[in-house]
């Protein structure tokens, strides 16, 4: 098999979407680094990628909350990458609003994971991307970040913060060939959403990963996935506050 021309680093490689995206990338012949906290599990996923697709795949320890480790982690990724290193940021924490209200520690942990941790690891990886002359950064944002709803507005706030961070990150590194895509994801049938009541327009992980892979090749900026969320969110954003505040969303 020919040496891969690109390596996808999947941050949050143990997540449902991270796993599905890694399958897509490997099926296309890319090498994969699956990064996360549960290394024993990630080793199993990496073995699967190697066996099914015959591509190089490794597990890496990565903890979004361990900010001090991020630079060393970025260097290790650079050393392991074959061809161009690209990133999928697929980790995140999504406790319910009720849990956030009841336990300030839970709320803080979410903000630190989804915002501080994400910003920190992307910042640590930026020099790697610049040195190699570019790269693709795909992040999992959320439609929850487009308008705050009673049910998950703190979670939405972390994704809105991530969106603004990514805008500036893209502008800052664009001239070095770095392309950034923030996927505004609708609900996906993952381990996170499993215990929740049925959500509208739920996407399967495989379909979502296929869509994300396609968007990653074509698009920069922001894109809704599944695409139906573009018109739906346009409508929801247009609802006046006095009406919106009476809806139970």
């Amino acid at each position: 098999m020919a040496a891969p021309t690109e390596t996808w680093l999947v941050l949050g490689g143990g997540s449902t979407i991270g796993r599905a995206f890694a399958q897509r990338a490997a099926a296309a012949g890319a090498a994969v680094l699956v990064a996360g906290r549960d290394v024993a599990e990630l080793e199993r996923s990496a073995a699967d990628l190697r066996l099914r697709h015959g591509v190089p795949a490794s597990a890496m320890l990565f903890d979004a909350l361990d900010l001090a480790s991020h630079r060393g982690f970025a260097r290790a990724c650079a050393a392991l990458a074959q061809g161009q290193l690209n990133l999928l940021l697929a980790f995140g924490s999504m406790p319910s609003q009720a849990e956030c209200d009841a336990e300030p520690g839970v709320a803080r942990r979410m903000v630190e994971t989804n915002v501080t941790g994400a910003a920190s690891v992307l910042t640590a990886l930026a020099p790697v991307l610049r040195v190699q002359g570019g790269g693709v950064v795909v992040a999992l944002g959320s439609v929850a970040g487009e308008r705050g709803r009673p049910r998950n507005h703190l979670y939405g706030a972390t994704k809105a913060a991530l969106a603004v961070f990514l805008q500036g990150y893209a502008a800052r590194h664009a001239r070095h060939g770095v392309r950034v895509l923030n996927i505004l994801a609708g609900p996906v049938d993952t381990a996170l959403t499993w215990p929740l009541p049925k959500l509208p327009f739920m996407a399967s992980p495989d379909d979502f990963a296929a869509g994300a892979w396609r968007l990653a090749r074509q698009r920069s900026g922001q894109a809704h996935l599944p695409g139906i969320w573009a018109p739906v969110m346009a409508a929801i954003r247009a609802v006046p506050d006095r009406v919106f505040n009476r809806l139970d969303l």
């Binding site: 143990g14 796993r19 090498a31 549960d38 024993a40 599990e41 199993r44 066996l51």
Partner: protein, 456 residues
Amino acid sequence: MNLVLPTHAVRVASNVAWRSVALRGWGRLGSAPCQAARPERLREVADALLAEGGRNLIAHGGGRSYGDAGLNGGGAAVLTARLNRMLAFDAETGVLVAEPGVTFADIIAAFLPRGWLPPTPPGTAFATLGGAVANDVHGKNQHAAGCLGHHLEWLDLTLADGTTRRLSPTGDAEAFQATIGGIGLTGIITAVALRLLRVPSNAMVVRRRRIAGLEEYLEAFRTARDASWSVGWIDALAGGATLGRGVLETAEHATESVAIPAAGTRRMPFDAPGFLLNPLSIRAFNAAYWRRVPAGGDEQVMHANRFLFPLDGIGAWNRLYGWRGFHQFQCVLPEAEAPRGLRLLLEAVGQAGAASFLAVLKWMGRPGVGMLSFAQPGFTLALDIPARPASRALLLRLERITRDHGGRIYLAKDSALSPQGMAEMYPRLADFQRVRARLDPQGRLSSDMSRRLGLG
């Protein structure tokens, strides 16, 4: 690039999430509401078994058991489909180690291009390995290759107390034999080590010939005993002189590969309306199927998937029988009893006017290694029975005929067997229950099927 970097692991809390679901068997006879966990990490299986509440529990894989083997109404289910990673492969021995949610389709997609096939592919590629072990499935090569259990090196079983044991013919052989074909009642299978079959290509040379009646059929199977693969399709609505009429397919591996058929299958988009399912229309379909084969027979080279999994080409084909669903009946009769027993079974179906699309006839060789394995030497007949008020009575009659002829009913398909029939057909049932009591003393593992059959 296979290095291990981490110097320490971060402790990750594992809390199993449950949600209410309504599970159905492939026959869609009804739905069983239960609490379900869907682990994506190995450790969550033990966590689910240890979960508070002590609900009784069954593993549920691809949902391809026709009846209630994978259902647990009012209890809990552990959905294993997302534990679907391949963990290791030894190209010398052909042994693949994989998680229970890996399907035959997954194995074929990854390994057939490299010259390996699952050793005993069942009639659908969407069955999972865990379910395949728990039902000790067989394929169109049963007469030569036996059942899945014959090709297992070992398996990992997580018990009701959350501990995991590696079972093999030499490591707790008794528990190994209880788990193979044990319809999930000994624990949850978390890894399977399976010897794949070396094949020269991805293609098969398939020979088809028309068979005029039952006697000719049984003789034709005996004549074809050296064929690597063989299966017979029977027009279950043909009666009188044409009773047992059908098409016999035998196959050998081709030496050259063929192009992989285009992905994307047709799909049954809705439940077929009842009026389509009358004996006339199904009779016409079955007759057309028979006539499609030239009188002198034919020979085709095709991709292995097309021969092995013809129904997988139509997604959700189980909706063909409408919203009421259908029973599937499969039994095996010893060779000496087969001519008379099969005739009685086909006549009973014909008299009941129970419209069935093609039925399947197959010659079996080696008995399975599991205590509750279905396979035994003889002939096996499988047919669909659309659910109607009268179908229970028909199934009872088919069970009676099967018992009278020393036969056995296949639990993977079953939705109607009686506890007395179970005890009579499965002579090692007492052994099975003894091992089960040792592995699961509190009886946590239980299903709609186990309760129906009086197994607890």
